[in-house]
């Protein structure tokens, strides 16, 4: 059973565009929702994370929107750059960051 569903699988945007990646979860006990960025040959790195007591969190050009009633959350990347080209994973966990359940990933390409 896939507990975190992520879409789209891949995404191509032009430089300066705003890619949006969506995730939906099933387990209402999840209380921590991080996004990870992974470059080829590297391990994932934490980008930004949110807890369900807020509906939005911004860090630099990255924003998480969270909809608790719909059990959905999304990542927006403002003013995207070619250096943002990577695979992005959403994740969720209970107990504030214990073992993470990951989505299947979105391969983002930002073109000049």
């Amino acid at each position: 059973q896939q507990q975190v569903k992520q879409s789209p699988q891949s995404l191509i945007v032009q430089k300066g565009g705003i890619p949006i990646i969506n995730c939906a979860y099933e387990n209402t006990a999840f209380d921590y929702f991080p996004w990870y960025q992974q470059f080829p040959g590297k391990g994932p790195a934490l980008l930004i994370a949110i807890r369900p007591d807020v509906s939005e969190k911004k860090e630099g050009r990255f924003t998480i929107s969270f909809n608790k009633s719909a059990k959905q959350f999304s990542l927006h990347i403002m003013d995207s750059q070619p250096g943002d080209s990577a695979t992005y994973f959403c994740a969720a966990s209970t107990g504030g960051g214990n073992k993470l359940t990951f989505g299947t990933g979105t391969q983002l390409k930002v073109e000049l």
């Binding site: 107990g95 504030g96 960051g97 073992k99 990951f102 989505g103 990933g105």
Partner: protein, 113 residues
Amino acid sequence: GAGVSQSPSNKVTEKGKDVELRCDPISGHTALYWYRQRLGQGLEFLIYFQGNSAPDKSGLPSDRFSAERTGESVSTLTIQRTQQEDSAVYLCASSLMRGETQYFGPGTRLLVL
């Protein structure tokens, strides 16, 4: 200081052989996690260590998989009698304590022929 390191970076083995993968967590991190990443897929949780507590083994796919950690230092993941479906990248992460940000190593790419 140094991040999470893993060795070997790549491992090719024959079906049926045992393999041992190593993870060196960030110094001082009490929590350590192992995940598996199959090609084109998300990461699957395997096992979690927190200090001297009993590990959470709920993600281990079969009894061919086992892991050890001595105190708050190095961990080894052992896969016995490897199968082709074990081919994946095995990632280790550590965090200062349970619930804190997990920092990932570069992974070990395992190929079972």
